[in-house]
């Protein structure tokens, strides 16, 4: 079911463009979240990153998957800065390194790449579930996808489940006490606000899942 080889660099660009629309639509909310418990730049970091990735289109459409992902990773890393630059840069850098991805990518392999990527992000940021960061979205989503592959769940069902998982993870950050990232400096005052990185990650994951659901 999730084994057809269908994912090329056009998939990356198409999703980046859709993500751009969704992020722009939710920009005021994300901005506010990082102003409440961070330094207010998260939305600009994310928007700048997406724009830079989309601008890569003419270059990466002729590249192999590993090279394309690496270009994206470098662009994110150098173009965003801040926590999200390092974290999302690590995500893509790791995905680029997964073996044999230039031989064609099916959904199963794509999920493995993402799972590896999230593991690297976890190492980079040293944050786990429950610390009020994007990891509260990324780790549950990675687990959900891994389980889906193991249990060979129907792709569309898995996407729906993933959307739910991401949303739940995002919402869970609201009442958590931040122990990692800039929000941790607030101590108890960090409670009661959704983590901006969790919100942006959830929106991006939802967008990709929706786009798969709609194909």
């Amino acid at each position: 079911m999730i084994t057809e080889s269908i994912l090329g660099t056009d998939f990356l660009i198409k999703n980046a463009k859709e993500i751009q629309v969704v992020i722009d639509n939710n920009a005021p909310e994300i901005e506010k979240l990082d102003q409440e418990i961070g330094d207010g730049d998260h939305i600009f970091n994310i928007q700048r990153g997406i724009k830079l990735v989309i601008e890569l289109e003419p270059i990466i459409k002729h590249l192999s998957m590993s090279k394309a992902l690496n270009q994206i990773a470098m662009k994110i890393l150098s173009g965003i800065g801040g926590s999200s630059g390092a974290l999302f840069g690590t995500l893509f850098m790791t995905m680029a390194k997964v073996s044999n991805i230039d031989d064609g990518i099916d959904y199963k392999k794509a999920i493995n790449m993402f799972v590896d990527g999230v593991e690297a992000v976890k190492q980079r940021g040293k944050a786990d579930v429950g610390e009020k960061t994007m990891m509260d979205v990324l780790i549950p989503v990675a687990n959900c996808l891994k389980e889906g592959v193991e249990k060979d769940i129907d792709l569309k069902d898995l996407m729906r489940k993933t959307i739910e998982t991401a949303e739940k993870g995002m919402l869970s950050t609201k009442n958590l006490l931040a122990t990692k990232g800039r929000a941790s400096f607030l101590g108890e005052r960090s409670k009661g606000h959704i983590d901006p990185g969790a919100r942006s990650s959830q929106l991006m994951i939802k967008t990709v899942c929706m786009s798969i659901l709609n194909t």
Partner: protein, 330 residues
């Protein structure tokens, strides 16, 4: 938002260009990636000191590049950590063959980006992590405390050691020591406005202050009514003194730092009030620094930093320095 700019996209570039042109005898600005290096090449065998962080804290760090202090600075976007390619480019440009010391303020973004850079560069490197903000509770299982104005003191003192032949290891040890010997805390009377955001990061009532504010406008210990300067001073000093476990008769450096929008007269008034308190406690101000050195854009507010001094620290504080923002003995 009222700022001198043409477009928020070009803000940083034009500002760096102006900085580069105004101080071309001391520094050079390079673009894509953005880095600021000394205009003179590093002398062989010197440990190079590289710092960096989000922009918006000027003169930190670019204003501290030059003889006796930093070899290079990596300015990120406003309040966003620089990216690894900046640190990599900087380390290539100023390499002296004796290793690199990174001075990094304790923020997740900065740590991760500097770490990635360290992993990617080939030569030896060490990192001094600054976490002097006593407003935030310290804890090893969280991110810990923020790095704020003591960064200036660390950069001056370690810069002097590197200039006078200190090894990478010695520089790392001294940097950690200065950081350990330093405590800071600040208060804000107004927010700042990140150019890209176009509106204030937070709102304070006409009689409110943010006590223990961070240098990016992060909330502090509490929001409170504005107090007389002497009371603010006493509370800031109280927290710092407790944290540093300052003893009677100890010698310190007192650093009254403006957040960008507070005039010098008020900073000197805070110095006066702090001196009264310290005199009462028999704590001796052996060295002083007063001014806008570690700012938060145009925020109105100030922070106090105390660094415990010994002969070694005093020697390196007094040694000549020639940067855009700090200059003496040359």
């Amino acid at each position: 938002m009222k700022k001198f700019l043409n477009s928020t996209d070009d803000f940083l570039k034009e500002s760096l260009q102006g900085f580069g042109a105004a101080h071309k005898d001391i520094i050079s600005c390079h673009y894509n990636p953005n880095i600021i290096t000394r205009s003179k090449a590093t002398k062989k065998g010197k440990v190079v000191i590289i710092s960096g962080g989000g922009s918006g804290h000027e003169p930190m760090h670019g204003g501290f590049v030059g003889y006796g202090m930093l070899d290079a600075a990596c300015p990120g976007f406003v309040f966003s950590s620089p990216s690894p390619d900046q640190m990599i480019a900087a380390s290539e440009k100023v390499e002296g063959g004796a290793g690199i010391l990174f001075i990094v303020k304790n923020y997740s973004g900065d740590i991760m980006n500097f770490q990635m850079a360290s992993e990617m560069i080939t030569g030896a490197s060490e990192t001094v992590l600054i976490n002097d903000d006593v407003a935030v509770e310290d804890s090893s299982y969280t991110t810990g405390r923020r790095g704020v104005a003591a960064t200036v003191i660390v950069e001056k003192i370690v810069g002097s050691l590197a200039e006078t032949g200190g090894s990478l290891k010695e520089c790392k040890i001294l940097g950690d020591k200065v950081n350990r010997n330093s405590g800071s805390m600040g208060v804000a009377f107004s927010s700042c406005t990140v150019p890209a955001a176009g509106k204030p990061t937070f709102k304070l009532g006409p009689d409110e202050m943010e006590f223990g504010v961070g240098i990016h406008g992060e909330p502090g210990r509490r929001r409170d009514k504005v107090q007389p300067a002497q009371e603010i001073t006493n509370e800031l000093l109280g927290a710092i003194i407790e944290d540093l476990k300052l003893e009677n008769n100890g010698e310190i450096l007192l650093f009254v730092n403006g957040m960008g929008g507070t005039p010098l007269t008020e900073l000197y008034l805070l110095y006066d009030n702090a001196k009264k308190t310290l005199d009462n406690k028999n704590i001796k101000i052996a060295r002083s620094l007063v001014g806008n050195y570690c700012t938060s854009l145009e925020m109105q507010g100030a922070s106090l930093t105390i660094t415990k001094l010994d002969q070694e620290l005093k020697k390196h504080w007094d040694s000549p320095v020639h940067t855009a923002a700090m200059r003496w003995g040359l």
